[in-house]
């Protein structure tokens, strides 16, 4: 007992030192990661004349003129709405289709599952640039060029392998007895999926949805190629088209970038609450 207490005391001092070290490490990593974002935030509120001078790092007075300009005078608001529509529909399609696919791969008796999973993964190995011209021609032939449908569909297809892989492992981690119990209790496989497996897979579904949403929100190349007008451009494309021929509006650019980043960052924080383990606690021994 006494021995343990002694250890405890040393442990106290050591853990204090550890805490200090950890704090420093976290701060430096945080600065490293968030530094550019901070810089951008500062830039977005600097008056125009301060933008290209280094002192002051901190502007004397903040201005909202950049935000005003990008939201009211540029098509950014429209682009943000486009991005939201595209990302939401791509997420819905990828998660719904991915769930069915993953459920089949995880629970149903299908021959050659590893091969199927391998093929699914292989499709996401093509770099976007390699498929972009055939994709453009295809969309034009389908009459979908310069529509949100084209961008959303492409994003959904491109994110599907990720969703399938993620959800397959999510379904595999759910105790197989739960599926069997549902089947014996009278469910068809589909009903077992809808009433038992999907509610339990919610944390995994949230993660998959979040990842697909972020991918679609940030995706640039497909969106750039498949759209041609302000009414269909997504936010990253719109921001990229900000620089004019003779000048780069740094303040506007910073403000727009922040506005584009914020929804995704907010979603990540919001979903974090759902991404907790232990939803299956109590169903099996424990």
């Amino acid at each position: 007992m006494r021995d343990a207490e002694g250890h405890g005391k040393f442990g106290g001092v050591g853990s204090l030192r550890n805490a200090g070290l950890r704090f420093c490490l976290l701060v430096s990593v945080g600065l490293f990661c968030l530094g550019p974002v901070l810089w951008q935030a500062v830039t977005s509120v600097k008056p125009d004349q301060d933008l290209v001078r280094l002192p002051p790092i901190w502007p004397d007075h903040a201005t909202g003129s950049h935000y005003e300009r990008v939201l009211l005078e540029s098509p950014l608001a429209q682009s943000l709405a486009n991005s939201a529509i595209v990302a939401a529909s791509a997420t819905t399609v990828a998660v719904v289709v991915g769930s069915f696919c993953a459920f089949a791969l995880a629970r149903l008796p299908i021959a050659g599952k590893p091969v199927i999973l391998g093929l699914v993964l292989a499709t996401s190995m093509f770099p976007p640039i390699a498929v972009i011209s055939p994709l453009y021609l295809l969309m034009r032939a389908l009459g979908l060029r310069d529509t949100l449908v084209a961008v959303g569909l492409t994003h959904a297809v491109y994110a599907l392998p990720l969703a399938v892989w993620l959800l397959t492992s999510v379904f595999r981690q759910l105790p197989s007895e739960l599926y069997y119990a549902a089947r014996v209790d009278g469910c068809t496989p589909l009903r077992a999926l809808l009433t038992v497996l999907l509610p339990l897979a919610r944390p995994g579904l949230a993660v998959a949805a979040l990842l697909v949403f972020i991918f679609s929100w940030n995706e640039f190349m497909f969106a750039l190629t498949l759209t041609a007008s302000d009414s269909t451009r997504t936010a990253p494309v719109a921001v990229a088209l900000f620089p004019g021929l003779y000048e780069i509006p740094w303040g506007d650019l910073a403000a727009a970038s922040l506005l584009v980043t914020l929804p995704v960052a907010g979603l990540a924080v919001l979903f974090q609450r759902h991404i907790v383990a232990g939803l299956t606690a109590g169903s099996v021994k424990g």
Partner: protein
């Protein structure tokens, strides 16, 4: 309720044959146990009966009707899992009602009737006060009851149980065992009960099948299995402590197993020549007494290797030394005698029931 018949059922997973060829008949209204060591194929057999898996070959008949190709929901069976498999996102009430809600179109029950059924089953199992809880807020025994209730509520034709008690502590297990027996007496639903615990199988079942490596070793009433094990595996597996299995040789009228001489007129006639056999003697037929008894009739000297108190008595593992080597035997300590390890003791086998087995085939010999 139904009679369950399994005909030449086999199951392979890839190259591994889990069930080579099983034929069984489970009578209508019977509590039938399938017992065997881990990996003997008993859970696979249960999954096949439930329809969760397809057999490689063979047939399953319920009341003479082939159900081999039917889906689980078309078979009208209920399955209680070792892990209970309660739906964690549903309350106890919803868990109990689930099988009825799923089949609502078929059984035509409305919401009120389902609620009545839930109340009936929960009253029956003493779950009335827990209906709004989630499974994770229940104790092991309560979860077990919910799992039973969910299986009972549908009044299935066949009740399947996959080691339903093995996650409970010993005390609870004994009382749940009694309760299962009571439930069965009341409902008389054909029940197939899978367990690795031979005590459970012996105390609970009307009849039982001993399974090893996917092959049925013996099917009989618990009493018969215990009194007349059909082969060496059943002899060694059923009963605790396990039966003493000794190499023995017929010598005239008697049988010699190491230093022990077993006399008796019950030796079958085919042993009357110097043939090697395996002789099985239950530990309770062997008495371990203080060393003073050495030299009395039938007493053999030995040294205690292990002791295992069983509460009321004590099991003693004794090494018997003779010219040919050491024979190890388990016996019961005589009343009031508490031997210690490395003590010298006397081992007495007074006309025990001896089970004889052919050492080559493992099959029981004669009727002794």
């Amino acid at each position: 309720m139904a009679e369950v018949r399994v005909e030449h059922l086999s199951k392979r997973f890839g190259a591994a044959s889990v069930l080579p060829d099983v034929t069984l008949t489970i009578r209508d209204g019977e509590l039938f146990a399938i017992v065997g060591p881990s990996g003997c194929g008993k859970s696979t057999l249960l999954h096949l009966l439930a329809g969760l898996d397809r057999p490689t070959s063979g047939r399953i008949l319920f009341d003479g009707v082939d159900v081999t190709g039917l889906e689980p929901r078309e078979r009208d069976v209920a399955l209680v899992f070792q892990s209970y498999a309660l739906y964690p996102h549903m309350s106890v009430r919803e868990n109990l009602a689930f099988p009825l809600r799923v089949a609502q179109r078929k059984n035509g029950l409305d919401r009120r009737q389902i609620e009545d059924e839930v109340r009936r089953v929960s009253g029956f199992l003493g779950l009335d006060t827990l209906l709004d809880r989630r499974p994770r807020e229940l104790s092991g025994g309560q979860r077990q009851r919910v799992a039973l209730g969910r299986a009972l509520i549908r009044k299935p034709r066949v009740f399947l149980m996959d080691e339903p008690l093995s996650n409970l502590d010993a005390q609870l297990r004994a009382s749940m065992r009694a309760e299962l027996r009571r439930l069965h007496e009341e409902l008389k639903i054909t029940t197939v009960y899978v367990t690795h615990d031979q005590t459970e199988a012996l105390t609970l079942a009307d009849r039982l099948a001993v399974l090893n490596h996917g092959e049925v070793q013996q099917v009989d009433h618990p009493h018969e299995i215990y009194q007349r094990p059909g082969n060496l595996f059943v002899a060694g597996f059923m009963g605790y402590p396990p039966m003493n299995l000794l190499e023995a040789q017929a010598e005239g009228e008697s049988l010699r197993a190491g230093p022990i001489r077993l006399t008796g007129s019950s030796l079958p006639s085919e042993l009357r020549h110097d043939r090697m056999v395996m002789a099985g003697i239950r530990p309770e037929a062997i008495l371990v007494e203080p060393a003073e008894k050495i030299g009395e009739e039938g007493a053999v000297a030995g040294v205690v290797r292990l002791i295992e108190p069983s509460g009321s008595g004590m099991w003693v593992t004794v090494d018997l030394q003779d010219t040919r080597g050491v024979t190890t035997i388990i016996g019961a300590a005589a009343a009031g005698f508490v031997p210690r390890i490395r003590d010298s003791v006397a081992v007495v086998a007074r006309r025990p029931a001896v089970h004889l087995f052919d050492p080559a085939t493992g099959q029981r010999i004669g009727s002794a």
